[in-house]
C-alpha cells in the first residue's frame, strides 16, 4: 500500500489545490483508496478503526477484481463496473454519456440507476464551478431548468442541489421560485427527518424573504 497524504493549504504555489474536490471529497478528513492512476476505487466512511479500514480495503480489492472481469468482456461485470465508476465519479458528464452509449441498451433497472447517477453528476459539475456564495448566480439558471424539468438528484447530490437552489432564490429574491422549492421539499420529505428538517428550515427562510 502506498500511503499518500494530501494537505489543502491554500498556499498559492502548492500543487493540486483542488485535489480534494476532484476526488469527490467536500470535507475533512476524507479517506479513500485509489488505483495506480489516482482513480478513487473505494471511499472510507464510518468509524476509523483498523477493522473498518480493512473492510474498505476489501471493497477496493473487489472493485479492482470487477475491473478485470469487465475487461474480459463479461457484460454484467461491465454494467456493474459502470455503475460503480459513476458513483465514484470517474467520469465527467460527457465521458459518462459516451460510455453509456458504448454500452448500448441497458436493462430497465440499470438504466434508471444510471439516469439517477447522471443527474447527480450533472449537478455536481454545475455546482463545482462555485468558489463562494457570490457566484451562485452563475449556476442558478441551469439548476432551475433541471428542477422545472423534474430532473432532481437523490442522496448527497440532492442536499447540494436544494441548498444551492434555495440560496439562489434568496439571493435573487425570487419568491415564486422559493415557494415552489419549499412545496417540492415538503412533498418529497415523507418520513425522512433530515428532509423534513430541511423543508421546515426552508419554510422559515421563505417567511423571512416575504417580510
Amino acid at each position: 500500500m502506498v500511503l499518500f497524504c494530501h494537505n489543502t493549504s491554500r498556499v498559492e504555489t502548492d500543487p493540486y489545490p483542488s485535489l480534494l474536490g476532484e476526488k469527490g471529497g467536500s470535507g475533512f478528513p476524507y479517506l479513500v483508496f485509489m488505483d495506480q492512476n489516482g482513480n478513487v476505487i473505494a471511499k472510507h466512511q464510518g468509524n476509523r478503526s483498523v477493522e473498518a479500514f480493512q473492510t474498505t480495503m476489501g471493497r477496493a480489492d473487489e472493485f479492482l477484481a470487477l475491473e478485470k472481469k469487465a475487461a474480459s468482456g463479461e457484460r454484467d461485470a461491465k454494467l456493474d463496473l459502470f455503475l460503480q465508476q459513476l458513483e465514484l465519479r470517474h467520469f465527467n458528464l460527457e465521458q459518462a454519456n459516451a460510455k453509456r452509449k458504448e454500452l448500448g441498451q441497458l436493462p430497465e433497472e440499470t438504466s434508471k440507476k444510471v439516469d439517477g447517477l447522471l443527474i447527480g453528476l450533472e449537478v455536481s459539475q454545475i455546482v463545482g464551478k462555485i468558489q463562494d456564495r457570490k457566484e451562485i448566480a452563475k449556476v442558478g439558471g441551469p439548476l432551475v431548468k433541471m428542477f422545472e424539468a423534474g430532473r432532481i438528484p437523490t442522496g448527497s447530490d440532492a442536499r447540494m442541489f436544494w441548498s444551492v437552489l434555495l440560496m439562489y432564490a434568496e439571493e435573487t429574491k425570487d419568491i415564486p421560485l422559493f415557494e415552489k422549492l419549499v412545496a417540492r421539499l415538503e412533498q418529497d420529505a415523507g418520513d425522512d427527518p433530515r428532509a423534513k428538517a430541511m423543508a421546515e428550515s426552508a419554510k422559515k427562510r421563505l417567511e423571512k424573504l416575504r417580510e
Partner: protein, 91 residues
C-alpha cells in the same frame, strides 16, 4: 522489513488514533472554518502548512505528500494508494 499490508494497518491505526475522537461517521460535509478577523496572508498559510506537515504521524509511516510521486510509486510497486486528505488553512 515490515510487510506492506502490516505497514498499512499500522498507519491506519495511527491515523485512526490521530483523527479520534472525531464525529462517529465520516460525513462529507464542509466544516465551517474557525472564525478569522481577515483572511490569512500567504505567510500565515505557509506557517500553518509547515506546522501540519511536521506532525508526528507523518514520520511514523512512509507517507508520501506529493501526488505525482504517490502515483509513480504505486505504478512501480503495483500497489493501491491509501489517501488521507486533510487541511492546514483552518482547524
Amino acid at each position: 522489513m515490515i510487510a506492506t499490508r502490516w505497514r498499512f494497518l499500522v498507519a491506519a491505526g495511527l491515523l485512526g488514533a490521530l483523527l479520534a475522537p472525531a464525529a462517529p461517521a465520516q460525513e462529507e460535509k464542509p466544516k465551517a472554518p474557525a472564525p478569522q478577523k481577515a483572511a490569512d496572508t500567504q505567510e500565515e498559510l505557509i506557517k500553518k502548512r509547515d506546522a501540519k506537515m511536521s506532525l508526528e504521524f507523518l514520520k511514523k509511516a512512509d507517507w508520501i505528500t506529493d501526488y505525482d510521486k504517490a502515483r509513480e510509486e504505486a505504478k512501480k510497486s503495483g500497489k493501491k494508494i491509501f489517501a488521507y486528505f486533510t487541511r492546514s488553512y483552518a482547524h
